[in-house]
């Protein structure tokens, strides 16, 4: 009986989905909104990368919400793991000298790549989230490779707060000039240059710092609770 009902429901939903989408030709570009974005985004926002212009400019408020969600997740994890210690007998092997040397050599290059990705977020693929994550990966390599390494949590939280404040202030500046929240009030410049697209690079650099600091803090907290140290 249950299976019969499930089959009937599936058929019902399938039939209506089919009738809804039968008229849409597969793989053809029928979306008016997408076309409009692709055509008007460069003169309107000054950002060559359309994805960035949508994420930071048209949907800037959404991005602020996403950053807040990430912050809350990191805070919650820290609250759960606070005071937790790993077992002292939980021994693990010393990192080999290859890993230590490799970590020291790779860390600056990874940070440079991450910084490049979020500074050029309005020109090339990627942006604050991707760049920040790459920097956190670099910190992970340091944690794995150097046994005595500990992230400076005070510095991380200061960096994160400053980045968050920068994002909100950039939004409020739009209100101060009598326009909408997160409105692009700076001059757009020539599309394709690093100093262009108004507040987009500022916001993406802030997002990059914030995401990098948060994820690095999360990784360090997690690693130190499994390591058997405080």
């Amino acid at each position: 009986m249950k299976k019969l009902l499930a089959a009937f429901l599936l058929g019902f939903i399938g039939y209506y989905l089919y009738t809804a989408f039968a008229g849409v030709p597969f793989g053809e570009n029928k979306m008016e909104v997408g076309k409009d974005y692709l055509e008007t985004t460069v003169p309107k926002t000054g950002a060559v990368n359309t994805v960035t212009s949508i994420v930071v400019n048209y949907r800037g408020f959404d991005t602020l919400g996403e950053v807040t969600v990430l912050f809350l997740a990191a805070t919650g994890l820290g609250a759960i793991l606070f005071g937790m210690k790993g077992k002292p007998e939980d021994k693990h092997r010393e990192p080999s000298s290859i890993l230590t040397t490799g970590a020291k050599a790779l860390f600056p290059i990874i940070v440079l790549l991450g910084a490049y990705i979020f500074i050029h977020g309005h020109l090339t693929p990627g942006g604050g989230f991707q760049g920040g994550t790459i920097i956190a990966t670099g910190v992970l390599i340091l944690i794995l490779g150097i046994k005595s390494f500990h992230a400076n949590h005070a510095l991380l939280s200061v960096m994160e707060s400053l980045a968050g404040i920068t994002f909100v202030v950039a939004g409020i500046l739009g209100l101060a000039f009598g326009k909408n929240f997160l409105e692009n009030i700076l001059p757009l410049g020539t599309p394709g240059q690093v100093l262009s697209a108004g507040i987009i690079p500022i916001i993406y650099i802030a997002v990059g710092f914030k995401v990098g600091a948060e994820l690095a803090g999360v990784l360090d907290t997690l690693m130190s609770t499994t390591r058997g140290e405080e």
């Binding site: 991707q130 997690l222 499994t226």
Partner: protein, 92 residues
């Protein structure tokens, strides 16, 4: 004779590559679900992310590919591995 007329155009290569990657994606996903050894399962999910990232690049979505490579391949795997060390390696 039909096989001889079959020319190797870039478009065909692109489609064949996408098809092979999609097949491998499904295989890796099933592997990571079926696997009892959780370490191998984590390697499987990481492989899924890696293939997905290449697929996103082939489908002209470099932004998503970067995100998938950084978060799916590197960070999620690391967090899963840390969690695995706290718990047991084998599924009961």
């Amino acid at each position: 004779m039909i096989l001889l007329q079959w020319t190797l155009t870039p478009e065909l290569l692109y489609q064949a590559g996408t098809g092979i990657l999609l097949f491998l994606l499904v295989v890796a996903a099933i592997f990571s679900v079926v696997q009892k050894d959780l370490l191998m399962a984590i390697v499987g999910t990481s492989l899924v992310s890696l293939i997905l990232s290449v697929l996103f690049l082939l489908l002209h979505a470099p932004d998503v590919a970067l995100t998938e490579a950084a978060i799916g391949v590197a960070l999620t795997t690391a967090i899963f591995l840390i969690a695995l060390r706290k718990t047991g390696r084998y599924e009961e």
